[in-house]
Subunit: 705 residues, 2 copies
């Protein structure tokens, strides 16, 4: 057996182990004690609402996937009449496999969290420790399934087709689904959240999660379809994309130079998953411990394990010089990810100056909440941008010298270094997903506790769990944004590899493309257009939320005035939750399609106008402005959210003060920033990079310039 085969086998084994643990946790969560009938009923509404939306969304997306499947079959990797039809078939199959696995990841997540939410509410009656275990394990079900699924998918595609290019098709399938899932879920959740707050809290003066509010269930459904299903698909896709980029580059080097870089990429991926599994198993709160510590300690355990295990495994493959370079690249990724996370955390931590200062500005009025929030969030982009820039530079320079001894080009090795740093950064992706899914579970649990009248002690416990989730998210978010940045830079390298392979097969000679010079006006043309795309994309999503919220607000008003006994809280009278869920859902689907199409269309348009060089510039412009906007919007949302909470904790006049009213405006603005537009941009960038890579041969053949 070759080293590659062993690595593939081990990968599949660890992925299966991960599925097994996921199933064990699911059974455990399901076995937890039942809740009271009110909660059961409401949890049932949430579950069926989430499933209805997913079904609707997936059925629309299956049409899209079918169209793309046929297009790939005809045109990619090269038009069917020019190349080997079998490759087109394989590529199409890989694409389909990617979409299906990504959809399943979302579905598993929703299934797990819609059970865990009610169990967590019930467990909170006993103790915060019990509630934590249920919430955390509920999230872990999804974390393990997502990462296991991505690893097994990548390993299977690679093994079956023996061609890393097919991975780009697989990854494109995953990310095109993630784009819609993330954007659609993001529009859904913020439509519901904003409308529920706007009419319920502000206009009618109802408390949070009041069951008389017709949008309250839609809000909880939104948490599941946006934060869980959408985010699951998104991180599935990020992980696949980072592996695909690394494997395309490594296998191209391995083929040409007879080296062994591909097995090490798989090893790093499987060690990351294994470390996450162990980290998850070790997440426990001590007696009266605090949940933030428990979450962070499992993250640090994972990081430590990853660093230690990779140190050992790398030694199996390489001599001393290469060892330090490859291991160094992955260590850079891991370290810089943590640094970005911690630096970003500064801007959203309520003990630090930014949050306090925005809260204090709010005393002057909402305009100042916005101005100071925007300003601090602009500042907050700096550490991450520098972090990504430095880690790309350092990992490239570290691996570049390997080229000499194996007779490869220094660009290839440099890009391999960047892609390994991205894999290192995403090693803790299992933890990230688990933590991210934990948030909506405890958030839902809080809602259920409120609606099921479980009392103030339970509410206080779920609140504490919720706030721990928010804090931890800030750090893990640093990893995911950083990894996305590095992955797309590596994908630019993969793009060049693909272009040159396609050019060779089209008889255009070797080294058809040798770089993207900024002084070439075709490159800067692509750069400028590419930079505008994330702005337009997020604008379309936010306008979608705005429009959709309008429809929902009308519906809430209608129910409030026409349903008798609702206003007075007459027992047995419930609003028509399903109407609100259906409005949020169909609106989200209607609004997400144009944004997705625009992204794909612009990429193709730039490619057909300027050819592969324009696409190179386009990708880089997209990365740069996408990172900037994603960081800005995510951090602004977190900053405003925490400023509001800081005031609600009794500072600067507390709830109901002028500062609080202004802070609520900031928080509402921040909602679509951080939960709709910001995180969708990551996926948008990845989709664009992958489309570009797999369609490269078309742009070589057909372009105006």
């Amino acid at each position: 057996m070759t080293a590659l085969q062993i690595a593939l086998l081990c990968s599949i084994f660890v992925a299966l182990l991960s599925f097994f643990l996921s199933a064990v946790f699911y059974r455990w969560v399901k076995k937890q004690p039942h809740s009271n009938p009110t909660i059961e009923k409401i949890a049932g509404f949430i579950k069926s609402g989430a499933n209805t939306f997913l079904k609707k969304e997936y059925s629309i997306l299956s049409i899209f996937a079918a169209v793309v499947f046929i297009l790939i079959l005809i045109f990619l990797p090269v038009p069917i009449w020019k190349g080997n039809p079998l490759s087109n078939f394989f590529m199409a199959i890989s694409y389909l496999f990617g979409t299906v696995l990504s959809a399943i990841a979302g579905k598993i997540g929703v299934t797990a969290t819609t059970v865990a939410n009610k169990k967590c509410a019930e467990a909170a009656k006993k103790s915060i420790n019990d509630a934590f275990s249920v919430g955390y394990r509920g999230g872990a079900i999804m974390g393990m399934a997502v990462v296991g699924g991505s690893l097994i998918g990548v390993a299977a595609i690679f093994w079956i087709f023996g061609d890393a290019t097919m991975l780009l098709g697989f990854s494109f399938g995953a990310s095109s689904l993630a784009l819609f899932a993330k954007a659609g879920g993001g529009i859904f959740t913020k439509t519901a959240d904003i409308s529920a707050d706007l009419v319920g809290k502000v206009e009618l003066g109802l408390p949070e999660d009041d069951p008389r509010n017709p949008a309250v269930i839609a809000d909880n459904v939104g948490d599941n379809v946006g934060d869980v299903a959408g985010m699951g698909a998104d991180l599935f896709d990020s992980n696949v994309a980072s592996l695909a980029a690394a494997l395309v580059i490594s296998s191209s080097i391995d083929t040409a130079c007879n080296t062994n870089f591909t097995p090490i990429v798989f090893c790093y991926a499987l060690i990351g998953l294994l470390s996450s599994l162990i980290g998850i198993l070790f997440a426990r709160m001590g007696k009266n411990g605090n949940p933030t510590k428990a979450l962070n300690s499992s993250t640090y355990t994972t990081m430590g394990l990853f660093a230690a295990l990779t140190a050992i495994v790398t030694a199996v493959f390489f001599n001393e010089d290469v060892y330090w370079r490859i291991y160094g690249a992955s260590a850079i990724g891991l370290t810089v990810g943590a640094v970005i996370g911690i630096a970003t955390d500064y801007f959203t931590d309520d003990r630090r100056r930014p949050v306090k200062s925005v809260a204090s500005s709010s005393q002057k009025g909402a305009a100042f909440t916005i101005i100071s929030g925007v300003s601090y969030s602009y500042l907050s982009t700096l550490p991450a941008m520098i972090g990504i820039a430095i880690s790309a530079l350092a990992s490239y320079k570290l691996c570049e010298p390997i080229a000499e001894s194996i007779n490869a080009t220094s660009v290839e090795l440099g890009m391999l270094g960047i892609s390994i740093a991205a894999v290192g950064m995403l090693s803790i992706v299992g933890m990230i997903v688990a933590n991210d899914a934990y948030g909506p579970i405890v958030d839902n649990a809080r809602g259920l506790a409120e609606m099921g009248n479980l009392g103030d002690v339970v509410l206080e416990r779920t609140d504490r769990l919720d706030s721990a989730g928010n804090t931890v998210k800030a750090i893990t978010k640093g990893f995911s944004i950083g990894a996305a940045g590095l992955t797309v830079i590596a994908l630019l390298g993969a793009f060049m590899t693909e272009v040159n392979e396609a050019a060779l097969s089209l008889g255009l000679g070797a080294n058809f493309l040798n770089g993207f010079d900024l002084l070439d006006p075709i490159v800067s043309f692509g750069l400028l257009v590419g930079a505008a795309v994330p702005a337009v994309f997020s604008a379309m999503l936010m306008l979608g939320v705005d429009k959709n919220a309008q429809r929902m607000v009308d519906e809430i008003h209608r129910q409030w005035t026409t349903i008798k006994g609702l206003k007075e809280g007459k027992p047995g009278v419930l609003p028509k939750y399903d109407r609100c869920i259906s409005i949020a859902g169909s609106g989200a689907i209607k609004e997400l399609v144009p944004a997705g199409i625009m992204t794909i269309f612009t990429t193709l348009a730039v490619g057909f106008v300027g050819g592969v060089k324009a696409i190179g510039g386009f990708l880089m412009g997209n990365i740069v402005s996408g990172l900037l906007l994603a960081l800005f919007m995510s951090n602004a949302g977190g900053l405003w959210d925490n400023s509001k909470k800081y005031i609600e904790a009794g500072n600067l006049g507390g709830k109901g003060s002028k500062a609080h009213k202004s802070a609520v405006v900031g928080d509402t603005v921040g909602d679509p920033f951080k939960d709709t537009a910001g995180p969708s941009i990551n996926t948008q960038i990845t989709v664009v990079s992958l489309i570009a890579s797999i369609t490269s041969s078309l742009f070589i053949t057909i372009s105006i310039f």
Copy 2:
């Protein structure tokens, strides 16, 4: 006499003509009838306030300029011990000349507008036509002086030193002063504006421009120092930079290939000025005509004249093939400038969907004003980004083939094409300045009319003049942002030319640098860091406004409660205007310094870390994200401003409605966006490009990578 000498002589002649007309207009404005004593008194306050601030600002900046002068003397263009000390002396002198001329441009503008404002108020008593003439000619004084000054400065430096590199020093002097003037003026004006509105209008319920408001004079002073002095310095600098970029490239080609491109650059510049002069002379309102038409028609006259005259002059220099290419590049600049302006106008026009839709969203609350405003402004970046991308690509490709016949490199000719397009776009700069200065004059006139009790008819007239100014600004702004974009792309070309010349003189051989490859991690390192700079820069300015407004609000409160009879409007009791002016001024100076230093420092840091390649990426990252943010913030400000005005015109409930309150929040957020951060970014980009060019030899010698 050579063609170049003739072109230089003609340039100087037209520039002198421009000064002469400027002086004629100034005398004419001064001779207009006197106003009533109250207005005289208040106008006196405004004048002395503006002059005090300028004096203070310039005295601080003279220290900065002195330090830079010495640094240039020692280190640039090459360290004094390595090269010819005389070049260092020339460079330092050029730098100083640039700062002085730029400062004078600002000073002339303020002198003109602080006389024209009161005359305009008085003229409005007679008719709107008379008021228009005074306002417009007042603005034209500055327009003609600024453009005349920049042309005479460039021609003089070029003639005396015979070395285009010195122009970069001259341009750096102009732009480094503009950076501080624009940022300082921007902080001043918004501090005063926001504080006056916040306490005066919102809290105390005083009408706009009520003389009891202690900040009311500071607000008017702000219009002069921000919009007039700052903007004058800024456009002076843009014009110089675009000429410098074109001349560095053209003279490098002329020297190497014995061609005649430099004279044509001067010809285009002087024809632009001449056309503007004629356009200004023809600006008349017909009987009962409308001021928007008058302003636009003079802009179109200028464009038509420029297109016609350059068509003739170009024929003198070139044969048919080259003729169409050079003339084509300048025509592309002119046309695309207009297209960008018109497309951008769509997003801020109150008869179009964006403004109406933001106004309608405001009914739901301030958060929706912000969300929809941010979304539309993100969308608004697309036409300009595509316009700049296409005009750069088209002008490059158009001029590239000339290279073959004259034995130059295609990059050089392509970059020449881009720089000629930028010159074409800035041909109407005289009109832009005139229109931009017209705005504050009529705005001030309105304030004086209010404070001097000139009655409702006069107010209605000045309001109409004011609103015409805002509409026209949207179109001319398209030109200035577009030209800035093209200029900095051309400066990237100039940067490479400079690096290669420096490398040659350092004995590093010819073609030391042959491009900036995006796959080179040093380039992408620069790109990512460069992209973060405009965000950080604007954040620092906006936080400066926020902090400074806080100080001012406290002062207004203090005066309101301690000055007896002020509240009641007792005759003869006036607030202490000078205290507010002094707070706005010293605060602005305090807050602008760190932002300016950060910009310069980061450029040097990236250069010393990554060398010239990192700087190439840094410049491009800076351009891309700078354009994006500048467009976003400028358009958002205009959009919110007009949405508020749309509601105030009686739509959606009019003044005092919920929608209006929300729209006021949007307008307040938009103020520092459009008048502090947005327009300063243009200057920031130019400064960075110029520093990079003149310090290139240092980064060749000293850098880590």
